[in-house]
Amino acid sequence: MVSASGLHDIDLTTKIGSLTLAYPTLMGSGCYGSGEEFAPFVDLAKIGAVVLKSVTRHPRLGNPTPRLVHTPAGMLNAIGLQNPGIEWYLEHDVAKFAGRPCTIVGSVAGFSVDDYAYVCELLGQRSEIAAIELNISCPNVASEGETFACDPRLTGKVVRAAREVTDKTLIVKLSPNVTDIASIAREAQSAGADALAVINTVRGMAIDVETWRPRLGNVTGGLSGPAIRPIAVLAVYEVARAVTIPIIGQGGIETTSDALEFFLAGASAVSIGTANFTDPRVPVRIVEELRAYLAQRNLRSLSSIVGRANVGFANAQQYEGDEG
């Protein structure tokens, strides 16, 4: 047994670019409002950071309803980036984020390289926002939302444009809906990303067999929750082999053991989205249990286990062969 004071010696601080987070737990963009919504149920001082809902240049009403469907071990969502637009956001919302007990990370989405640069520049000037996540991987908007993350060249372009207009820590959120996530990751890193968020939701669809209609107003949606966890773990594993910048692993994390899979695959921090819907106490529980897990193994810091499952594969063939 480790004494209580021993548990507190364990170092969970995590560096993401110029950010230092007290805990390696971020709350997924679009899942946690601005943190305030969850304040009655969880001590925000005990979570690493809240990633805000993505904001765009112009206001967006978002997708028609229904926007949510529960599916086995997960859910589909198609919110469609409902947000008030950057102007309204700066005027009415951002000031409220000051003095929150946890770090606040902004999230920016867009439909052109110019859009991203425009919003990043304005948001980057605000002291209430500690870092910016570039959501180049939203599957729920009709046109170009996700195409940025599906094309290494476009990824490079948009990240470079954002890098030019802000010194804030820049996190780039990647899509799993690609053939080769490692090549996108490499491009994001060389364009100036400080960290990568891996992964956004997996595209999916559900159909009502009574009405013969898609269940989502938007027809297609993004799958989240435990159903996508193995996809996400693999994506982190592959990205970790391709880049040197920190990775924020996410996709279906509900328990400490789930989070550990991501750390072992190469993530320096994890993000929790859908699990908060079931039980808002999950992020704090994971932090407490991580300490115990490390203490039991006489480890003093979380960083000592990051990427330890990454034994690598000699070549692509060997790797494909493993999938049987």
Binding site: G30, C31, Y32, G33, E37, F38, P40, F41, K53, P59, L61, G62, T65, P66, R67, L68, V69, H70, A73, G74, M75, N77, I79, Q82, P84, G85, W88, H92, D93, G225, P226, E254, T274, N276, F277, T278, D279, P280, R281
Partner: protein, 274 residues
């Protein structure tokens, strides 16, 4: 609607009692003093069954008295099946009370409550509050058949006039409960909870009668606390319930999407643009 935020949280409740009111209709009583003490009529909880399914279930709070609250629900899927399997002594995690609830602040003297099916679960508390204030309360209660009109005697015992309708005519009026509402002496205020098609019918009857109506809407929830914008409904841009959001043009008028779980679940019928 009520605007004062009530103190809410996540509570570990213990199941006290369980009754099967009809096939696949279950009432579970639980002990959660802190939750029960602050519950207002028309509020709900997110219930997480012990196995922790991906999403919790939003359920109206049926009774709230002393330290005991209860949930009345239809067993329709995996999550409600698991909840229905709970026995006295079992634990249950409840987050709430959530939502705005019904606005009874105008002190109405003659109220029609319209409940369809499982909608009955959200209307006992407002009925009790109105009766306690000396109002006349008529319950217009519809279901598929007689067996599913659960708890109708309970509402009579409380002092409501109960008007029934069933799809098959096995009790009360044969047809929709909104047809009975249409023919009745107009109330001063309508409160309604039930399936969306019924609520739409209530909205149109209310408009015809020139009576204001509060509708408790139902939608699939994810977070249940206003964090994900998954459960929205369009409101007129000028609604007092509109969230902090710029009204945007849609179909020729300004609308704003409000969150059913946060700004609702109760909305004024005449402010909805659904």
């Amino acid at each position: 609607m009520s605007t004062t935020a009530s103190p809410c949280g996540t509570f570990d409740a213990t199941i006290l009692d369980r009754r099967e009111l009809a096939a696949n209709v279950v009432l579970i009583g639980f002990d959660a003093p802190a939750l029960v003490a602050v519950t207002r009529p028309g509020q709900y909880v997110m219930a997480v069954p012990p196995s922790g399914e991906v999403a919790s279930t939003a359920l109206g709070i049926y009774e709230a008295q002393g330290t005991r609250g209860s949930l009345l629900f239809f067993v329709v899927g995996k999550r409600t099946t698991e909840l229905a399997g709970l026995r006295p002594g079992d634990g249950l995690s409840l987050t709430g009370p959530l939502g705005n609830g019904f606005d009874l602040s105008s002190n109405p003297r003659d109220v029609a409550i319209v409940a369809g099916g499982v909608g009955i679960a959200s209307v006992l508390l407002p009925a009790q509050a109105l009766l306690a204030a000396g109002a006349r309360v008529r319950l217009f209660y519809g279901a598929r058949n007689r067996e599913l009109l659960v708890e109708r005697e309970r509402f009579e015992r409380e002092g409501c006039e109960v008007i029934l309708a069933t799809d098959d005519g096995s009790a009360g009026h044969r047809g929709y409960i909104t047809q009975a509402l249409e023919r009745a002496e107009p109330p001063e205020l309508i409160l309604a909870c039930g399936p969306t098609p019924m609520l739409r019918a209530v909205a149109s009857v209310a408009e015809t009668l020139g009576v204001r109506a509060q509708l408790s809407l139902e939608e699939t929830f994810a977070c249940g606390v206003g964090g994900c914008w998954g459960c929205v409904v369009p409101l007129i841009g000028t609604s007092a319930q509109a969230p902090n959001f710029p009204p945007l043009e849609r179909g020729g008028s300004d609308v704003v999407y409000a969150r059913i779980c946060k700004e609702g679940p109760v909305f004024w019928a005449h402010e909805l643009r659904w």
